[in-house]
Symmetry: C2
Subunit: 350 residues, 2 copies
């Protein structure tokens, strides 16, 4: 494995949750970005002992006022010179607005330097038809979308933002078209799509698009095998890796990084987009990390159970903790999967 | 560079400060430990925008109650199965006591399994004769020393803990002897020593010791060139790297990791100790990272100044921010310095 950074010096502001133990939010994003060579400023929106899929956790959320204050501190010390921003889970509508204001301000700072600042927004609101934030967070995200360069909703979040129910390829396309046209979002990737007729059996796919100069979608699809396990932090891992990989892919095209939102010429088709190239590498890294995590789960479960009393071993609630722990993404010991994944998934034009 | 982890699966609880931008505390420790392959649980004791050597910062400290609560959260989910703990800056005496209680409890959990848990304590209190914590923190640390396996005081902190004024090699030896004898601390490294007659000109040294079965010191010294620049986070980097490297070195000796505090046979002399071998690698990594950081400073200063107004450029206070930013440790783009440093500094018996 080469130790050379994947991208030239890149300063990223990563705004997401922090958990003491385990790998979700900034705990994933910071390491993934750093391992590819990015200088990461990590603004943590919560500090919890562990992620919420354990069903019990301790810790505190950071207020909107604290988020603003930390950003003021950065500005006062000339530490707001970010090339990119990645935002994930933010607790509550007021805090979402505070994060949006930061992105807006960073965008304004560079309004005369196209391509100098790029915001990757993961609008964390819910999954599988269930909202896990307050309802007032949804309109707050809609207000911010105009500042985003790339958004990464899952299927449910894409429905919430576009107000289009996604049931087939036609409605999926309509949703993406709406995000380009109504909200002027240059790049969209909808993650983890599972629609009968669109996705093969036992597979998932992502569908992405970078709009043309007239706001038309250029769609691509990447299909990959589903792994039968519930993992947390996969969205955060996707967001971190694509932040770095989209920069790598944009820099591979002469002068593209000096163009607003790194938008390709209109004659570039979906599967040839830098966004598609970036997503191919991201999904390869993720498939390798998830496969290795899954393979290690039985040993991890046994290791934890070895320290438990017989009574605890037979407690269903406690078995859930042990299984959830075993499903934590195994990132640090799989550095080469992040930096130079071996498998290949290829983007297809839609 | 090989991508293989430096140590077998190792779960480390890292307790220290968090800064959004820059590299001190857990921002250094987490990446350094992760890059060598450790699974790090990061309990952040503050969230500040930047480190305090900028002379202005924003953010909040975490209370002793929150530290306790986060640890309870870990326990409730079987996430307290740590192999090692590294603690750095902790705000206030009550919070120091809370962190000490965590280490004590983790030690107690493994009292029948010698060597199963190892606490590296960096007793952050001050430097160069100046205390930068409340005076009541000092006795609090003294109470905790009995649970530590390895402590990493600087020269001033070693004086505070041992109540021995260090002016020459004889008093340095007395201080270390006191820490072994009075506080039963198995391993000690005193970092960044600069004593006329002990250290060569333009050089610094560390002096370390692992006690014998009768509590006698076994001293070694490693000398390295001083770099003429004020860096922050070097103590945190030393702590993180030695946490991983002492485990690597202990595992290289058959069955040593199954012995209380990984203490070597009495016939092993100072310069042959695993602690000495570990410190050699740590100082090599640090020297490479600091050299590269220093070399990049002029370019970093110019880059920041390019975005400043003429008035700001001539403001002395603002020049300090810019210089402090340029002196932030450049870790992520120098991964190979952390994993496989090229230079060599050799431990000498004292």
């Amino acid at each position: 494995m080469s130790a050379a950074p994947i991208v030239p010096p890149t300063r990223v502001l990563a705004v997401a949750s922090h958990v003491v133990s385990g790998n979700v939010g900034n705990k994933v994003a910071v390491f993934a970005l750093q391992s590819l060579g990015c200088d990461v400023a990590a603004l943590n929106t919560v500090q919890f002992s562990n992620h919420t899929a354990y069903r019990q956790w301790r810790g505190t959320k950071v207020s909107a006022a604290e988020i603003k204050d930390l950003y003021e501190g950065l500005k006062e010390n000339y530490l707001d010179d970010f090339d990119m921003m990645l935002s994930g889970y933010v607790p509550g509508a007021e805090a979402v607005a505070a994060v949006g204001n930061i992105a807006h301000e960073l965008k304004e700072n560079h309004k005369d330097q196209p391509g100098k600042f790029f915001w990757v927004l993961d609008p964390v609101m819910g999954d599988n038809g269930r909202l896990y934030v307050a309802p007032e967070v949804v309109p707050e995200y809609k207000k911010l979308l105009q500042y985003a360069d790339l958004i990464l909703p899952n299927q449910f979040e894409a429905e919430l933002l576009s107000d289009v129910k996604i049931t087939d390829m036609a409605s999926l396309t309509t949703a993406i078209r709406t995000l380009h046209e109504t909200y002027k979002i240059p790049h969209v990737v909808i993650t983890s799509i599972s629609i009968p007729g669109v996705t093969e059996a036992n597979h998932l796919c992502v569908v992405g698009s970078s709009m043309t100069s007239t706001g038309e979608p250029r769609l691509f699809q990447i299909t990959f095998p589903a792994i039968d396990c519930y993992f947390c932090g996969t969205g955060d891992m996707f967001g971190a890796l694509i932040t770095c990989r989209i920069r790598e892919a944009a820099l591979a095209v002469p002068n593209l990084d000096a163009r607003q939102s790194w938008l390709s010429d209109d004659n570039v088709s979906g599967e040839e987009l830098p966004l598609a190239k970036a997503a191919e590498k991201v999904l390869a890294s993720m498939h390798e990390v998830l496969t290795r995590t899954k393979n290690d789960m039985p040993a991890s479960i046994e290791k934890t159970r070895a320290g438990m009393s017989e009574e605890d071993k037979n407690d269903e609630k406690k078995a859930h903790f042990v299984k959830t722990k075993a499903a934590e993404l195994q990132l640090v010991r799989n550095l080469e999967c992040l930096r130079s994944p071996g498998v290949q998934f290829t983007a297809k034009k839609l």
